[in-house]
Symmetry: C2
Subunit: 414 residues, 2 copies
């Protein structure tokens, strides 16, 4: 069975927006044992849209198409589908019901432009949209079943799981082929160093396909396996994962796709430990990452984003003497910051960062990329100094935050 994904919209074609929908659809299909072999993106141009739909209709069995179902003038997907099949647009009663229902349940008035969303190609079956005003639809053109869904990510996601997948299963039966994937997250090695350490993997486990994904600043190693027996596949994948663990050791922070902040949070919760953070160069990013984890209020109590020296002395109790003698970016200063924030918040651990994220503020002695990290534990406090040769502010903030969390992770693992 040949499956393709088509994303439509000038905002994606021109690069004004990044197409995250196709990745999500591909991932959901993978989990269902279905492989999308090609993604395409075209703009809101009627001729091009009609021609790509015709092209796909001759070579694929299933196509999932996103975008262009909204109420505005640049939404032309339904019309393009009708033209590709050579039929008219007609008012679809059940699509109209979806639109009307959306406004009724939200006690909002439906505007005339929304009625356009119920005009579908003749012969199309409408798809319910429980979370938005745009109904989707299914239409067979040539050999291919096309599933049209909106481009708004959370509407598309909901309709994919509730409407599209069940219909694909009905059409082709549940597939017996399974696809398992294991995501191993590492931090601290380059992609090529990671690849070389894992050089013997394919000889040892020929059933496994390996992929490397650079998700700055982490490198993910993905192990893929396909087949029909869940248990057999799981066992091979587990063995191969252990082999990878043996090669990469402490550079691995997660064997199940969890983020660094979730791993650190899990370790804190496990130890019934609590954490406070003092951030200078990371500017709140560590706190933001930690609080992205549901339940983080159980162990994360306080963070002081102390951008000014005054805040460092006043809130964290860093001594003026240390600031004058060493400056804001120094292992001694971050040690005081880590201890200070731990004391102020009454936690068992304190983590502190100070550095030069750039683009300005670098000196010969402390160039952009300099990072100091302080880790206060129940027993002692440590200060570190690092240098990273990047020079964009956003990369530095990400790398600095990750490095600080990684040091804390290693400390917590003991």
């Amino acid at each position: 069975m040949i499956i393709e994904i088509l994303a439509t919209g000038d905002e994606i074609r021109t690069g004004a927006a990044i197409d995250s929908n196709s990745a999500h659809i591909a991932q959901v299909l993978e989990q269902a044992g279905l492989e999308a072999i090609r993604h395409t993106c075209v703009g809101d141009d009627m001729d091009i849209m009609v021609s790509i739909i015709k092209e796909i209709s001759g070579r694929a069995d299933i196509a999932i198409v996103t975008g262009g179902l909204g109420p505005t003038s640049d939404d032309i997907t339904a019309e393009a589908a009708a033209k590709a099949k050579g039929v008219e647009l007609v008012l679809n009663r059940s699509a109209l019901h979806v639109v009307e229902n959306f406004f009724k349940t939200r006690k909002r008035t439906m505007s005339p432009s929304n009625k356009k969303q119920a005009m579908l190609p003749k012969g199309a079956e409408s798809l319910n949209n429980p979370v938005g005003s745009a109904p989707g639809f299914v239409l067979k053109i040539d050999r291919c079943w096309f599933f049209f869904v909106p481009g708004v990510p959370f509407e598309m996601r909901r309709m994919l799981s509730d409407e599209v997948l069940p219909r694909i299963e009905k059409l082709y039966g549940r597939t017996d082929e399974l696809s398992l994937v294991k995501t191993i997250s590492t931090f601290g090695l380059t992609e090529s160093a990671t690849g070389e350490l894992l050089d013997g993997l394919s000889a040892e486990y020929p059933e496994i396909t390996t992929g490397f994904r650079s998700k700055f600043p982490e490198i993910q190693v993905k192990l893929y396996i396909r087949g029909t027996d869940d248990k057999v596949l799981g066992k091979i994948l587990e063995k191969a994962s252990q082999w990878v663990l043996g090669k990469l050791g402490e550079n691995i922070f997660s064997m199940n796709g969890r983020s660094m902040e979730a791993v650190v949070g899990g370790l804190l919760a496990e130890k019934q430990a609590t954490l406070a953070v003092a951030e200078s160069c990371t500017g709140g990013l560590i706190s933001h990452m930690l609080t992205n984890v549901p339940g983080s209020s159980g162990y994360f109590h306080f963070s002081g984003v102390t951008y000014s020296n005054e805040a460092k002395t006043k809130v964290l109790g860093v001594s003026n003497e240390v600031l004058q003698r060493y400056g804001a970016v120094h292992p001694e200063t971050v040690k005081q910051m880590a201890q200070g924030v731990k004391r102020v918040a009454g936690t068992t651990y304190g983590l502190a960062t100070s550095g030069i994220a750039g683009p300005d503020g670098g000196t010969d002695e402390k160039p952009v990329g300099t990072l100091c990290i302080g880790v206060a534990t129940p027993h002692d406090v440590k200060g570190f100094r690092f240098f990273f040769p990047f020079n964009t502010r956003s990369m530095n903030k990400k790398l600095f935050a990750m490095k600080a969390l990684d040091l804390l992770r290693r400390e917590l693992r003991g």
Copy 2:
């Protein structure tokens, strides 16, 4: 001239990674007056890769291909290109120089697997990579010039501007056609409401193409215009922008693509005002956003991420009485937080958030999505309460942070 973009890699095809490269390439091409009409993505499969390269070689004049040039076993792009053209892979001296130079300038030892990166299709011209170990290359297949660059975003970006674009201009001459785009960023209206308010735009300005981009939680209105006379296009675009401003008013926070945090930062700097933030439910995101702006240390002094009530009283001086009487999520509490953080940091403005980001912690009285914001100005302090009907933690954090910054923006504009 027909231009296409091809992204390769199983991590993108399977959706494990989102393809942000194609969007960047399309955007850079647009700015140069060049239109990519189609993006395609395929996985690391030799047959499929060879066939898509052949397909593109027959219909496009220029193709930019990303990914698969690294040192690991899943990097097969050079081989696929050689097969599509029907030539051998040979050691390319100048590509080898790029690889060797990378390791030499970084004082690192080159590993054997990196030598593979200098094996290019016979007849290919290598492209310099000043920031990574993988050289790119140019190869003409059939009617199409293919530019192959690495998939690592910052390497690809650098090579696109330094190596690829100058060669395209050499091949086809600078294009006379210009493409101008204006990005108008709004917050507070839905996409369909925005679209309806702008309903008469295309009648008034038929030269303008309008696009709507939902970049949660903001809605961007994009105005596109193409033509040859820079000045004429600029004037029409400016007039149309003013027309849009007249319709959307204060819901617009930026007319030049700047982020909310950059706009707020600009207003603070203009007023020589300073800011401190007290974050509860937003967990550091407001601080992270503000400090993403270079130069933010000039006006942003301190943020207290006070997740625990203890931190709210101890660091910000919120009274126990208020906390007991109203709870942590209440306009009175955030007023005290905003005043407290302003006092502690000695700034002219204080901004505070407290709310329920979910997924847990909601009650009947204060369900998930409840948000309180406090704004302390030089003269007074205001407390607000809002409710947003989303229920994912990450969406709520984004929306809450944006709402708080937007209130501050409106306050600063007076």
